[in-house]
Subunit: 311 residues, 2 copies
Amino acid sequence: MGATSTKIGVVDDNGKVLDRAAVPTKGQTNINKFIDSIYDAAKKICAPHGGISSMEGIGVGAPNGNFYTGDIVNAANLPWKNQTVHFADLMSKKFNLRCLVTNDANTAAIGEMEYGAARGMNDFIMVTLGTGVGGGVVCGGKMVYGHDGFAGELGHLIVNRQDGRACGCGRKGCLETYCSATGVARSAKELLDTSKDKSLLRNLTTELTSKDVFDAAMQGDALAQKVFAFTGEILGEALADFIAFTSPEAIVLFGGLCEAGDLLMKPVKESMEKNVLSLWRGKVKLLRSQLPQSDAAIMGAASLIRNASRQ
Amino acid sequence: MGATSTKIGVVDDNGKVLDRAAVPTKGQTNINKFIDSIYDAAKKICAPHGGISSMEGIGVGAPNGNFYTGDIVNAANLPWKNQTVHFADLMSKKFNLRCLVTNDANTAAIGEMEYGAARGMNDFIMVTLGTGVGGGVVCGGKMVYGHDGFAGELGHLIVNRQDGRACGCGRKGCLETYCSATGVARSAKELLDTSKDKSLLRNLTTELTSKDVFDAAMQGDALAQKVFAFTGEILGEALADFIAFTSPEAIVLFGGLCEAGDLLMKPVKESMEKNVLSLWRGKVKLLRSQLPQSDAAIMGAASLIRNASRQ
């Protein structure tokens, strides 16, 4: 479930997405009507596969989704922003199926464990680098939900206490103010403002995005390359701290920013190795998601059901 | 097991320490002779309780103890400092009992979960404030050992990346350079050197310790009080980050520095609440260990066996 639309898929036991649909999320202030529209779309794509009643369950990845309660709680970018929506409950009644909910970083982690880069791993950390930065922590083969279901807010660990950037959460210096797509654009703007270096980014006529920074870097733009080096350095420092916390076998990176490939991965890896406690130097894998990007969200959500039925 | 001596105890099912003994650790370069001396001491204190063969197992808390392998690995302050000692294996053979090993912060955490402040909790974080700073992370009722058995090195998360203090680990700015007993003494020395403020600590004829800082603070010494406020602020900032990681029900503090009571706990609590993501503000308990200090190490080690037999 995203702010704009909600993707729906029929997924088989092997994680293959058999059919897809989407309904708008934006403007759906009436939650029951929203669920009706999901039901109608799901019914169509389930029909060739035995119908809704033959499905094992419904997995949902939603912003601020709580695994324990099945609620979506105060999600700033959804139509019910200051409310608690009993989403799993409502879905479960409508579909007569088990419904499990968690946030999208957690579904990404479970998806990776079931079908992707973390197959066979008991201990790993997922970091999603999108508009914001999300985290999913797996320890001993289990997703860490914490006491209240909201564990893994890795984008809100503080990486700069001295003069950190203002974050949407109201605090300063959060990881996501630097290492998200938005953070990359912010770094580029700062560098353009505080230096007189030439850059292709000075010619833009639209609002600068991380994609612009990537494109410029790939064309050899030194300032844009510097932005990725800076982003990678900060992310690597943070990952080194994450390692000391739960000692994962691997850290898996996922999300739009990973499309930058080596431009990002190389400085991240260097910084992580430079900053990690010697005990772990050269021992923790840094991986990119292995789920096909177009289906990753759906596979991740579906894996919630597969994972739960195995525990 | 400490650098100076190894404490041994007979512990019943309720965590009561029935009998105690100790053997020196220092100078025991021959591991087999060391284990013989532990055996002889244990035999004596087990005799009134049915003898060694009637014990359920042996729990060991040792620096750099690895739960998965039972080894003690490169422990800088033990006589086998650059070696891997197969401690659990050797003990198990000698005693003909199951032997489990982990580091002392983890035994402290399990002890607290079985007998202390964290009874009934599934998600909490233990932070030990001694000569160094150690961590034990419990998620979903299970100790987090991580991929290699060394998870929870919370004393080595970086709290100052700008001009952090040199740490024994070779890096700079680790939490334990500020919030350990050693860190407190270091802060006091820095403040004495960089200010001209009057302080009882200027009259010391011996090497300044955290205990001196505590005593002076209790006598109203403003500089010493400032040291605890500074220590608490840094620790609170770090705990706020820990909360975002695993969303614990409580953080339990343990170790010598906690003896400072409110002098430390008050600024820690204030700083933690001020710095934590609003989602958790006012919701995570900050507790002190509830194990009797003299027996805490032995109870913690014994709880390894009790905890394992329950899983």
